[in-house]
Symmetry: C2
Subunit: 472 residues, 2 copies
């Protein structure tokens, strides 16, 4: 089955979203998805707090004046914001936007909070939604008008500290998205024509979806002093001189991380969820025969008592075991425990791994440890498999026809390229036009530079290797 169809089906079958809400591009996120999404938020927030970020909550509405203050920023966002113009029966004196991102909400207050070096670094994060009036076709979790994300906003005394934070942001993405979620990605410094509106530079993590298209799942932005100059965010340095702060902001896309979780690990039977992020980690399925229902239910109680601390569901519904196996496999529950007559008599259970359907008979006293071991091994295998596939989709090319062919395999094509400054935009446009591909940027931190290579498009001396890909 083609990925796009698979994705549409699983969203419906597994009860992840309802797309019938009557505002275009807005979704209802259903409990089975919401539970995993809450767990992703928890992990991400926890890592951000460890890195010294404090939770904060700014209003969802931003006055028009604020949004217009930074010239590049408004240019980037004006066409894609929702406008609040009335309240009750009155026209508002000043129009408000639903935040598309919170720089212009937060930074006027940063200017009030930051006075001296002791107020720096300032590091906050906000979990919640942002709204963007997408004109491209929407697709649940991948491209929506109501985006679930986290944004961090940091201010520093020096450029060096700002660049340090960019690296830390990437490390946090590695810890959460790669290590804990198992989603492989590559980080790029985006070309100048594809950076965040108002930033000096944008660094972004891209993963590769099953159809070979890449998906940006987190970005961190080197804002330099662009916003601090506009919003007058200054601190007094040791010599009593006022200096503008250096800023970063960072946006892991929680909707998109979830989209990648669904897509990279799912199979023909449905979702495959890792133990940490599964709403139910274990499903217990009784295999009743005539007259042994009570016996099995009693044994199940005993089994459940050995599984305390896990999120376990005991499926006592009227359906057949076969139906239940299929249903919970479709829902992606990582571990199934089967108990029938034989298990009761031998004081054992059968545990089954969702990803490879491997079965194992386990005694009750080892059950908890075995479930943990099995869950861990399953996640490692999922992660390794995803990483292997990802690595196999990084191609190289030096000629345009070769580029085109390799783009067809999906993933990235590494090519020598003239420049990711604005003077390279012409070459990018040719690639875009001929191959519908994007220049994702140079790998960050940058790998070796090309030696005596020619730009794959214009033939001039190549300054960088860049990665091309078709994107979501």
């Amino acid at each position: 089955m083609e990925f796009s169809e698979w994705y549409t089906n699983i969203l419906k079958e597994a009860g992840l979203v309802d797309i019938r809400y009557n505002v275009k591009g807005f979704l209802v996120v259903l409990p089975w998805a919401m539970k995993t999404i809450k767990l992703i938020y928890d992990v991400y927030e926890n890592e951000l707090e460890k890195d010294g970020h404090a939770p904060i909550k700014f209003p969802v509405v931003i006055p028009e004046t604020n949004l217009r203050a930074e010239k590049e920023h408004i240019k980037g966002f004006e066409g894609e914001v929702f406008w609040v113009t009335r309240a009750g029966f009155n026209e508002l004196e000043e129009r408000l936007v639903l935040r598309p991102t919170s720089e212009t909400a937060m930074y006027p207050l940063f200017a009030l909070w930051i006075k001296g070096k002791k107020d720096l670094p300032l590091k906050v994060y906000q979990s919640g939604e942002v709204w963007r009036y997408e004109t491209k076709a929407t697709r649940p979790f991948i491209r929506v008008r109501e985006i679930l994300w986290i944004e961090t906003h940091d201010a520093f005394a020096t450029k060096e500290e700002m660049m340090e934070q960019v690296k830390k942001d990437i490390m946090i993405a590695e810890r959460v998205i790669q290590e804990k979620c198992g989603i492989p990605f590559m980080v790029f410094q985006r070309p100048q024509w594809d950076k965040f509106a108002g930033a000096d530079n944008t660094y972004a993590a891209d993963t590769i979806m099953p159809d070979g298209k890449v998906l940006q799942i987190a970005t961190t932005h080197e804002l330099g002093q662009n916003f601090s100059r506009v919003f007058d965010i200054k601190y007094m340095d040791d010599d009593g001189k006022k200096e503008f702060v250096w800023q970063t902001c960072y946006g892991p896309g929680i909707s998109r991380i979830y989209a990648a979780l669904i897509s990279l690990f799912g199979d023909e039977k449905g979702l495959v969820l890792s133990f940490h992020f599964a709403p139910f980690q274990v499903v217990l399925v009784p295999v009743y025969k005539t007259d042994n229902k009570k016996k099995i239910d009693e044994y199940a109680e005993k089994v459940l008592s050995h599984l305390e601390g896990f999120r376990v569901y005991y499926d006592r519904s009227e359906k057949t075991p076969g139906f239940k196996y299929n249903y919970w496999e479709m829902k992606g529950v990582p571990i199934r425990i089967e108990i029938g007559e034989r298990e009761v008599d031998s004081e054992k259970v059968v545990i089954v791994r969702r990803d490879n359907r491997e079965k194992k008979s386990v005694g009750l006293k080892d059950l908890k440890v075995e479930v943990e071991r099995c869950a861990e091994q399953m996640f490692l295998d999922m992660k390794n498999k995803a990483r292997k596939r990802f690595d196999s989709l990084i191609h190289e090319a030096e000629k345009m026809d070769e580029v085109e062919k390799k783009l067809g395999f999906g993933g990235f094509v590494k090519v020598p390229f003239c420049s990711i400054e604005m003077d390279g935009k012409g070459c990018y446009e040719k690639i875009k036009e001929r191959m519908h591909a994007e220049v994702r940027g140079i790998k960050f931190p940058e790998e070796e530079k090309p030696k005596n290579k020619k730009c794959v498009v214009c033939g001039k001396t190549a300054k960088h290797f860049v990665y091309l890909a078709r994107q979501y």
Copy 2:
């Protein structure tokens, strides 16, 4: 100091909110508040999940058509919604409101989800914000235009189950707000003229703020079949007949619970936070003398190792111990640990309770247990004190002049009253006009009915005892 002034001061001093955001009635919630608020959400969500509610996420925007579907509902909300009328450079085809509450967002989909009895009960909760264009004076956390809350929406096959849920909602409020937060309240069935727009009945929990005014902190609504008739939410009963479902919705106000936490427990030195909800549970303050800094810092490491699992802050800043004591008392940290030369030498520490500033010398190996014990006792004392005060503010009266006098003491005045149906509204209006007080309703579950008593206003036979109060 008058409460209102104290409240305004503490919000600023303790770094709870910044009121300088440039949209009226919208706040910036700062980290010290946000951390506690996140903990309140966790506790509430956990209890809701135990009661079988699943997390869900509906869009924040609701199409105008939906909002207008239920006649009473739109009447109640039309004057207080924010309107989204434009997106990008275009006028929207249909205007949207920022949700003031989510009935009309959710119920059209409930109609699609509910087909048979097997789909019932349906119980979901949503955490997040709602927006109301308040025309009354706003006050942080108490009355704002952006409200942090949770809303649950449940559907049942029978009226009895619906009424059961109303009771469960109240029990959950008791567990979270009274038991875990320590905030005493009384539950009332609101009069017909003061119910939720679209409900048959509203039940609400009111606490009493330090100035004697009451604050509604949670409401649950018996929606009956009002919305299910409008949105056509039906299930097939056992006889194959289609029946409308019975619904409840429930809204604990997280902003207001937080307002009550601040207000009921704070004292002249600042906030007093209970152990469970304090961002830092323990602050460790070194008492340096010349030349013993290293010795004390080393000992502090050892002390910290005995406090693992708690949220502890070691304040090594340059300030004096006295300054730090005052600062952390103002911030409400429940337990302070002091370590000076004498403590190092005797392998002890001094622990100090925030509420009564009781001191105790404790050996290292008992430290963890002693902190837990101290935290627990402090919370019990806080809770009991608040309960005692609450109970002392429930007055009774049978004459209007007596009512007026007792309203002056703050809290509730229990009076015999003619009726909480619409025919009692005239009497309410007189109370409102003469005494600026509200009829909060009859105690729920209802206590004994008045025998041969006359309505305190009109002198007709009293059907109920109701409670009057001045409110926020």
